[in-house]
Amino acid sequence: MSELLKTPLYPIYKDYGAKIIDFAGWALPIQFEGIILEHHSVRKSAGLFDVSHMGEIEVKGQDALSYLNYIMTNDVSKLKPNQVQYSVMVNENGGTLDDVLIYCFNEQHYWVIANAANRLKDFKWMQKQAACYEVNISDISDHVAQLALQGPKASEILNSVTEEINNLRFFRFKKSVVANDISCLISRTGYTGEDGFELYCKPEDVVQLWKTLLSVGKKHDLKPAGLGCRDTLRFEAGMHLYGNELNENITPLEAGLNWVVKFDKKDFIGKSALQTQKQKGISRKLIGFEMQEKGIPRGGYEVKKEDKTIGYVTTGYLSPTLNKTLGMALIDAEFFELGNIIEIVIRGKKVPATIVETPFYSKKYKK
């Protein structure tokens, strides 16, 4: 795995029994003790994830706000300092380039957190769109490491290393928090459907931060957690994974992300394409389903209705929390109705599934 990118925590993964995989060109742990065990730990107590592979793109300058509002579908002007916003970046056709978090330091200074696989693409795209704006865009990913501490015990655990985040609300952040001598930016955000935090620090500090959190978290049953359960957790909580539920051929409207597309703001990239789609009505829709018979739906499997192919599965799992076999699929919108029966083609066999509401698991955020 020498050709793969590595986070600063790579050298100590093995100490925790990690199984390493290639994820978007990064050598990352798919699991430590086991995906299901780690999944339950995050739901019941807490898990610690290395998410240093995520990209951080800094936007600075006097036009930072108007620039971001032009390239993002969500309304960045609604963001106050120390607030975080989920948003989507689309191309002129409305196809999704990435889904991101935006951190507002002030109207002239933001961070955009990009998916690892999209980091370079996003950065180039953002630079290209910046021509008419007074902004400086820099990819600071190599200077930022990130941990995600997630689960009902996350706040108690974090409290034992810093009291500065006691009153931190959901989707808010605080910079220059000192946690056991390490300076961090901490946000109350995550990708699991549980309460939790994301901690950004210098790469040279992250090993110590990881060890400190695991050590103080031990009595709360904090476990190192890998990408495997990160995906099963976000899936249960109905969150999108770029590459599965989102890509450049899927618009945020098709993916059910209407709440992050703000048509009432001034012009933004993709606005007219998305507006047209909204007026005409979407022809495809991202839906959730539950298998009625045995078989596990996997990404890419065909979805049928009366012998007609109506779409494909984007993600599917035997849900560890709900103990049901569930999936998300992008299907022709005309077949969407809760309770409708569709068929998933598993190794050539059509297996019935019912369209159900998403998220499958209600998020347990502390708002």
């Binding site: 199984k19 798919i30 699991q31 086991g34 995906i35 299901i36 495997g228 995906d231 099963t232 045995k294 078989g295 596990i296 996997r298 799992y317 035997l318 560890p320 190794r347």
Partner: protein, 127 residues
Amino acid sequence: MRVLQELLYTKEHEWVKIEGRLARVGITDYAQSELGDVVYLELPEIDAEFNQGDPFGVVESVKAASDLYAPLTGKVVDVNDELTNSPEAVNEDPYGSWMIVLEISDESELNNLLSSKDYEELCSEED
């Protein structure tokens, strides 16, 4: 990683226990550890026939589905249906978790299987 001396193995990480004219088949400790948590098994019906190397079933971990390959040509004479109801047993006791029993039709094919020593070597190369 455990490899049992008395068993034969395939390159695809199945173990084979020869019981006279019958071959009991499961997946190895190495295989279960590589797969991670096994959550689903699809096994054939009794009387199904397979050639050596044919996929005879599917084992699914949390993340992915993998084919199971018939180590020998033969007819299925027994299927471990209990295992399909508790697939996690494959992780807990891989050598106790047999999947099918084949009636061997061509004993010369046994020569294509790996000894425990050869299998151990194969696994250390793959690591």
